[in-house]
């Protein structure tokens, strides 16, 4: 008998007040079945919006199902809150960080079940146990550190530690590796193997095909809220998985129909990110896609933000179309034809409670309405055009950005950038956390833009993407560029990785 069985789980679409609308045509989950054995790692895949997260939120007690039942050890259960689920032994590692930055690591781990001694917090014991837990996980983080002082990757590790400490029988991991570096992913996978040996079952949601083989025992596919099928480990074939996910064969992922031109659109000369880091020089030509590789925190985003005037830099010069830019100010740069697509669409890219129309036009209002008032339908036409070109799946132009899936949100942010009619497009992780289908569409779009003569500077942690899209690649480490790779033949994962972590060994 399976440890966990979910039978016929159905969830109708709900309106903005969270009330289910009994509409027989639109369901988020449609009679989904799912089973989990003791001690297995069960991969759950599907495009964004396929219902994976919703299904897991039902299991994790965050959303009540409209129909269907959950059997744990053969007994029906109905978790009504996250706490209920934890008491049943079901832990949930969220995709978004679920930590209080202003509290210490220790206080975060024990939030809601603080150890006490005569009614008072037992700080020493909590410290000791956190230390033990982190050591057991193989990481060296002081439990008294404030979480906000940790890097994103370290925070992710704490998030995982927190759920591990609950002694769960089932752990749900919703894209746990999306912000981890290679070293940290290795730590996580070691932990997963250890947990498996202890008989813990893991449900693992991921978009990264290469992770399936490393950790998965079985794999289930959801598409459009429906259960498509389950594969055993022996049957993990990328083509098969992808075709189950998208319901069609996927065309070529990367397109390279653009031809780099000669004129330099952007040239950076001897720019320093910090007073102590090495100077950075780079250039991007017309119609060229230039990639920037490196680890999370190598200073790539800082470089992009420095060029775009979001952040202070030290010394150096930025030339645009051969002319030095006197003042790096985003408002002026956008008017000049430079735009930056942020890596964090939810907090920096979108106004989540505004509609698609307003989000798309936000950076172009100066162009659409050069006078004081917003007259006519220009804004709507622009939004409709972008939604069409980028194939954003939505009900209406007025739909709030919050209700869109990750891939569609990303398309809206890209649409906002394109609406400014840029000559230089700086992309920061343009496909982070979105599904394969949406990725392919975004790649196609980037290629089209480059073909029209726009210079593209693209930061990416996704190696195949970096290699597949770029004409040239700069690799960054410790706030500086360590190498420029100009030949397609030299663009190998191993070569780039070597440069990102340093040839001398370092953390690898």
């Amino acid at each position: 008998m399976a440890l966990l069985e979910m039978k016929g789980i159905t969830k109708y679409i709900f309106d903005s007040y969270g009330v289910a609308i009994r509409n027989t045509t639109v369901k988020i989950l449609d009679k989904v079945d799912f089973s989990l054995e003791k001690g297995e790692v069960h991969i759950l895949v599907g495009e964004n919006g396929a219902g994976k997260s919703t299904l897991m939120k039902v299991l994790g007690g965050l959303i009540p199902p409209d129909e269907g039942e959950i059997l744990l050890d053969g007994k029906p259960v109905r978790p009504r809150s996250a706490r209920d689920a934890l008491d049943l032994g079901i832990g949930f590692i969220h995709q978004e960080l679920n930590l209080c930055g202003n509290l210490s690591v220790r206080d975060n781990i024990f939030m809601g079940r603080e150890l006490t001694h005569k009614g008072m917090k037992d700080g020493k014991e909590m410290r000791r146990r956190s230390e033990e837990l982190l050591k057991e996980m193989g990481v060296n983080i002081d439990p008294d550190t404030l979480v906000k002082n940790l890097s994103t990757a370290q925070q992710q590790i704490i998030e995982i530690a927190k759920v591990f400490s609950y002694d769960c029988r089932i752990i749900i991991m919703d894209e746990p590796t999306s912000s981890l570096t290679k070293t940290e992913i290795d730590i996580l996978f070691r932990l997963i193997h250890r947990l498996k040996a202890q008989g813990v079952s893991i449900i693992y949601i991921s978009h990264r095909l290469e992770e399936f083989e490393r950790v998965g025992d079985r794999l289930s596919v959801l598409r459009d809220g429906q259960y498509i099928g389950t594969l055993e480990k022996e049957a993990f074939h990328v083509d098969r998985i992808v075709s189950m996910m998208v319901g069609r064969a996927l065309g070529a992922m990367y397109e390279n129909t653009h031809v780099p031109g000669g004129e330099r659109v952007l040239e950076v000369r001897a720019l320093r990110l910090e007073p102590h880091t090495a100077p950075i020089s780079l250039h991007v030509n017309r119609g060229e896609i230039v990639g920037i590789g490196g680890l999370v925190g190598a200073g790539r985003t800082e470089l992009a933000k420095s060029i775009f005037g979001y952040r202070k830099s030290f010394g150096g010069q930025v030339l645009y179309n051969g002319n030095p830019l006197k003042k790096l100010d985003p408002a002026l740069l956008i008017r000049a034809g430079i735009i930056y697509l942020t890596e964090d669409r939810k907090t920096e890219g979108l106004i989540l409670d505004m509609g698609i129309r307003q989000n798309i036009s936000l950076a172009s209002l100066f162009r659409l309405f050069p006078r004081l008032f917003m007259f006519g339908h220009k804004e709507e036409e622009l939004a409709r055009d972008m939604v069409g070109r980028l194939n954003v799946v939505c009900n209406a132009l007025e739909q709030t950005a919050r209700t869109l899936s990750g891939g569609n949100q990303q398309k809206v942010v890209l649409g906002k950038c394109l609406a400014t009619q840029p000559k230089l497009l700086i992309l920061d992780e343009p496909t982070r956390g979105i599904d394969v289908g949406a990725k392919a569409e975004i790649y196609h779009m980037i290629d089209t833009i480059a073909r029209s003569g726009v210079a593209v500077l693209m930061i990416s942690s996704d190696m195949p993407e970096l290699i597949g899209m770029s004409d040239r690649i700069y690799v960054m480490r410790e706030g500086a560029i360590v190498v420029e790779i100009t030949e397609k033949a030299e663009m190998q994962q191993e070569t780039i990785l070597e440069h990102t972590i340093g040839r001398t060994g370092g953390v690898a």
């Binding site: 996250a82 679920n98 209080c100 939030m111 590790i157």
Partner: protein, 327 residues
């Protein structure tokens, strides 16, 4: 930890004390013990209010009912004492009323999701209005000696008000740092969703914090009536801004999640000292308000600037990150 970082709080405190003594020595009579005792006696009212307000601001709230609550509870105690109710019972009744007022604000905020700003502003208006009704806008006075002793008496040369203040501050420090609910209060200011996901009923914490603030304001109101031997329907008003300002000067972040009760007491002491110095220099009270306002803006601006600079410094690059995650 870097030594400079480790000793920063101690050095800051030392600098403040030095500035206080040096600056104070230029003002005639400021460092005179009798005047100084007066300052710390008066600052007790602000400090007691600030114990509650600190916690409210930490959970990203704001309490604008402090002024009304101080007045209301002072007037209620005055009314009861005037009717011959024994002193302890009058005090307890006033404290219970103040706590209930805090609970109402808290319930509006926690369960009806009224923004704290609106809920407490309205409750402050209602209590202020009710305070006028107790004696048709007139004041109460001539309280029993036992009651006045609380406000003006001394034990071992130290005003009784300050013993009460210290008890409140210590209790506030104890709750926020030693009890589980303290961690949850700070957590609530940091990220409410995390607490909900951990199965914590955040509405109860909000209710608790607003009740505490109501209780503190009520205690301050009763103590103020005892200090002045009068309960007048406008006497709580100045403490509204002073209580919030004490927290801000003490380093409580309006963005929530940060701030210490003990530092708010220091903030209260600073505000009262400034007012006292201006009095000694014979600055008219109208100008005093302007100056106090300017000083608060200055303090807030400086703390914002240093915080921004510190945030910039902690932006790290990969080498440091990877080093801390040794496999």
């Amino acid at each position: 930890m870097h030594p400079a970082k480790k000793y920063r709080p101690a050095l800051t405190a030392l600098a403040v004390v030095a500035a206080f003594l040096i600056g104070g020595s230029f003002v005639p009579n400021f460092l005179n013990p009798a005047n100084f005792l007066n300052v710390i006696r008066q600052c007790s009212i602000i400090a007691i209010c600030a114990v509650g307000v600190t916690q409210v601001i930490v959970i990203k709230g704001i309490d604008l009912s402090v002024g009304g609550n101080v007045t209301f509870c002072g007037m209620l105690a005055g009314l009861l004492l005037g009717r011959g109710v024994p002193v302890p019972i009058a005090i307890l009744a006033a404290l219970a009323a103040g706590t209930a007022i805090g609970l109402v604000s808290g319930a509006l905020h926690a369960y009806l999701e009224v923004p704290a700003f609106v809920a407490t502003l309205v409750i402050g208006q209602i209590t202020q209005g009710a305070a006028y009704l107790f004696n048709n806008g007139r004041s109460f006075g001539s309280f029993p000696p036992a009651f006045v002793f609380l406000g003006n008496g001394s034990l071992l040369g130290v005003p009784v008000s300050d013993y009460i203040m210290v008890i409140f501050v210590l209790a506030g420090v104890f709750v926020t740092t030693k009890l589980p609910i303290g961690t949850r209060i700070y957590g609530l200011g940091g990220n409410e969703q995390v607490l909900k996901n951990s199965g914590i009923d955040t509405a109860k914490i909000k209710l608790f914090v607003f009740a505490v603030s109501g209780f503190c304001a009520a205690s301050a109101g009763v103590l103020l009536a005892a200090q002045l031997d009068t309960a007048h329907p406008t006497q709580g008003e100045p403490y509204q801004l002073d209580a919030i300002a004490a927290c801000i000067i003490g380093g409580v972040s309006m963005a929530g999640g940060e701030g210490k009760v003990i530092m708010s007491m220091v903030g209260a002491l600073i505000i009262q000292s400034i007012r006292n110095i201006l009095n000694l220099l014979a600055v008219h009270s109208f100008y005093q308000n302007i100056l106090v306002g300017v000083i608060i803006i200055g303090v807030v601006a400086i703390s914002m600037m240093t915080r921004a600079r510190r945030a910039n410094k902690t932006a790290q690059f990969a080498a440091a990150d990877a080093g801390a995650l040794k496999p």
